[in-house]
Symmetry: C2
């Protein structure tokens, strides 16, 4: 049976990191909440599993993946589980730990990117926390963005197998995640990102290389790829795309 | 050779989740940055590894663990690696994925707990972000705290082996992490936590049980346990320990 991915149907969000790996590897999967309700899909199917009180090991929040009797959540955990099965993880334990560690940094990064528009709390609207968002974002773009991107660039520079992949000499889910970070930041903060990219050429090259892989390019051109929008992690609010103080 | 843990010497912080597992299992380890500088320890030893440009796979930040030639960072990743070796992880793959998933939620939770005093950014002082901290914390205590603790309580309730452990019928690093969350929240938010605890009796019982384990109790009573302070994740700022709006 194909893997079943459960995620909110209207956004890329955290589920997209899993989708990209599934699509890049050409793995069969059902994006459950995007199937018609009449066929057992939609948000009701997602909520049914999320609220199933019979489930001994319930997920806290989407995304989660069902593989037979296993239900796994947390995107980095899902990717760690899937990676070796879909040919997007290193073969050795040290490589897998390293890939997972990098993916956990992706998790940290997207939490911070998300908080640019929700620095007080997800239960409030952006419009209710705009002053805080302005201040948070200034710090994020001035300090945090380059700390993360600079680190990822360093990882590519130091890879003894060359800067074509994040981990050793094999394609992994970390590469597709790097693609998504660059893509998302370009959408949300075109000005700040244009400046940042000049400092991380290897990361930009990796983004280009990943986006031109056959299966991934086909996915990106398809309607399976949900466009970025202002309900996801990466949102374009021009008032937040501030000129850096240090510029 | 004993495991070498690298973490800031003056705080419990994220390193404490690793320390607790090492101590509870009676595992030999060196807390490198807490050793005398004259013996190759101290912060210089930590910085030396962190800034070592020869390292192909550098950590982003402490904590990191060195085991021979492996350097692993991200506390949840370290615990996933150590767990099976020190007898604090389930034997089966499904159990390990589940334990790790719960540990990643601990990571998420302590990031949010940390942000109560640093909602704008870690590079600024608390005093520079106090209004934002007040508003963030209100939301954290009103909405987020019980969402997390309620989930952990549910995990204990649904454990078919009983509520003595978070995962199946074996002690794991998730239990020691639950201990630390309860302990830290009691320190930082005594009022809010007293109220919250009445709703999560199984979690409170787990905290009590973990704290009375022989090796852990000895550790907690020793000077190896750094006291909570206002430089770590859990800080006691009485002005933030607000009465809940929903009370």
């Amino acid at each position: 049976m194909a893997y079943e991915l459960f995620y909110w149907p209207g956004i890329q969000g955290r589920g997209e990191f899993v989708r990209l790996a599934l699509e890049d590897s050409g793995t069969a999967y059902t994006d459950v909440a995007r199937q018609p309700e009449s066929e057992g899909g939609g948000v009701p199917a997602l909520m049914k599993l999320l609220q199933n009180t019979e489930l001994e090991r319930p997920p806290f929040a989407p995304p989660f993946l069902r593989d037979g009797s296993l239900v796994i959540s947390q995107s980095a955990n899902i990717l760690q589980y899937l990676g070796p099965k879909i040919g997007l993880a290193p073969r050795d334990e040290a490589g897998r730990l390293w890939a997972h560690q990098l993916q956990m940094m992706v998790t940290d990064f997207i939490k911070e990117a998300h908080d640019t528009h929700h620095p007080v709390g997800s239960s409030l609207y952006y419009e209710e926390q705009k002053p805080e968002a302005m201040r948070y974002t200034q710090n994020f773009l001035d300090v945090r963005l380059l700390k993360y991107l600079g680190y990822f660039e360093r990882v590519l520079e130091r890879n003894s197998k060359g800067p074509q992949y994040m981990v050793g000499d094999c394609a992994s889910y970390v590469d597709t995640s790097m693609f998504q970070i660059v893509e998302g930041m370009r959408y949300a903060f075109p000005n700040a990102m244009a400046k940042a990219e000049s400092l991380v050429p290897k990361l930009v090259a990796l983004h280009r290389q990943v986006s031109s892989r056959e299966k991934l390019a086909a996915y990106l051109a398809s309607n399976r790829r949900i466009p970025f929008n202002e309900k996801g992690i990466f949102r374009r609010y021009p008032e937040l795309d501030l000129p850096s103080r240090s510029s």
